[in-house]
Symmetry: C2
Subunit: 300 residues, 2 copies
């Protein structure tokens, strides 16, 4: 399973029952938290996300609606007796804030919190079956997007065909990795004659808070699911630019240009009580769009 669960979709101020940004990415048995607005741990309870399952947290930038819930989550994890290491990827200054808040409470976390300051674009988590990269977006302060990628799935052996071509079992691993096989007589057996492609490798890109910024397109090219902020409807393009945010049409245009399979939009301004217009406007440009509604889990 590769999925994204929305815990918060509102910008700046909680409003109309909508929380600030937080998303949980699930890849098989692992879960990752992206951003952690105020009340995220309350949303964990509401939507039955276990705090203990989270071993990696990614914070896009240090505007409060993206991290004010973090210190509460970290200390709650401690109070609940967590012992497993926790990895936190965030702009460097966050460490100072956390350290200060622990110090004034005369508190120590009972688990190791590994702080990884975001400094350069590229790979930040590299595990057997998936990886996470960070990339820069363009906001009023330093701000990072994240891409979660399943790793290349091994090809499946076509049992009938490998027998037919008399390929020794010792070569099956290299066939699964996509390599060809050469017989003793120098005849090349093409890999795709004897193997079958596995399911495609999915990817999820979280574009954080950003102005319409075309360099993003190349970075998130061909992702399966793209989350792009849409703080405003298309009529407020000037205001969006002034505040380093995007509109519906701009987000959808990025999705179209990067050839995403599907677009998820969120980070709605507290100006808007109803969200229907967001979906309508985005779909005019990129049809396969969904609203990042809280509590909903989207398969990547």
């Amino acid at each position: 399973m590769f999925a994204v669960t929305i815990l918060g979709n509102n910008s700046a101020i909680p409003a109309f029952g909508r929380f600030s940004t937080a998303q949980v990415v699930t890849i098989n048995d692992k879960q990752f938290l992206i951003d952690c607005g105020e009340g995220t741990q309350l949303q964990f309870s509401k939507y039955k996300i276990k705090r203990s399952k989270i071993n990696h947290i990614f914070i896009s930038h240090l505007h409060g609606d993206h991290y004010f819930g973090l210190i509460g989550l970290l200390t709650s994890m401690g109070l609940l007796g967590r012992e497993n290491d926790l990895h936190l990827f965030a702009p460097a200054a966050l460490k100072e804030i956390i350290d200060l808040q622990l110090a004034v409470a005369n508190a120590k976390l009972p688990y190791a919190l590994h702080f990884h300051p975001l400094e350069n674009e590229g790979l930040i988590v590299d595990e057997n079956k998936f990886s996470v990269e960070c990339f820069k977006v363009l906001h009023s302060i330093a701000c990072w997007g994240f891409i979660f990628r399943e790793k290349r799935q091994p090809r499946k052996i076509d049992k009938e065909k490998v027998l037919q071509f008399e390929i020794p079992a010792a070569y099956y691993n290299s066939l699964q990795e996509g390599k060809n096989y050469a017989t003793k007589d120098g005849v090349i057996i093409q890999n795709d004659w004897v193997t079958i492609a596995n399911k495609p490798n999915k990817s999820y890109a979280f574009c954080a808070d950003t102005i319409y910024h075309e360099p993003i397109i190349e970075k998130v090219k061909n992702v399966s699911l793209l989350y792009h902020e849409t703080t405003y409807l298309k009529g407020l393009e000037d205001r969006a630019a002034l505040r380093f945010h995007s509109t519906t049409v701009q987000a959808a245009s990025i999705a179209k240009q990067c050839k995403a399979e599907k677009l998820l939009i969120g980070h709605f301004s507290s100006k808007y009580e109803y969200l229907d217009a967001f979906l309508l406007e985005a779909k005019e440009v990129f049809d396969n769009t969904d609203l990042a509604i809280e509590g909903t889990t989207f398969l990547v």
Copy 2:
């Protein structure tokens, strides 16, 4: 009107839908916030408390469940265009945390935030019709309680009686202050012959997080409404002492000894899903007790 509205009553970690500590005190047309656990601004929305009505905030101590919601509230007030001054009374280190969180966001509040570090016991707000005092309680870090007092109401003139005794109107003010009147012949007209007592002056004491600490009794003597924490049921007196918290019986005993009219208990441990036992145990010692249930407004 003099009342207390409960916005959060749980200790340490939000649990069973209960939020961390926050209370709004209303004295006529003024409102005051005591403590501000994570999600307090969400509770403001739920219980229709207007952020703009709050001009004074009191933070008892720097454990997260008493202030992690503050920075979100302060920045939301700014984003909503607040211009009125805001007075914050809290342990000194909180200023550093707020300043740091504003700095990393490259943000400035559009209103004046007057920070008043809590240093000595005594009067911290002194207005025409009410006052606020702070006093020390005994917790694992520096921790403050607060007492809100209505000021002495002037006595009411008994119009029939002042005419009967032929007291000139110029003396009415001094009669309202409780003074006697002497006629030209040296006859003393006792104040209570010609005036009527106004309603008694009410007071509310918030005892914050504290171990059972008898010096508190003198400080909150005769308050109308006493809030005292009861993190644990009476069976866990040892654990309470170890963690600088109180039990039901201890809170009720303080209420009894200080001759409070009524006791409000809260700051329940996340161990307890149901709160009935808290009320039963406290009532065994001090009958006029209520649970600080979220959303409830208690008249002082």
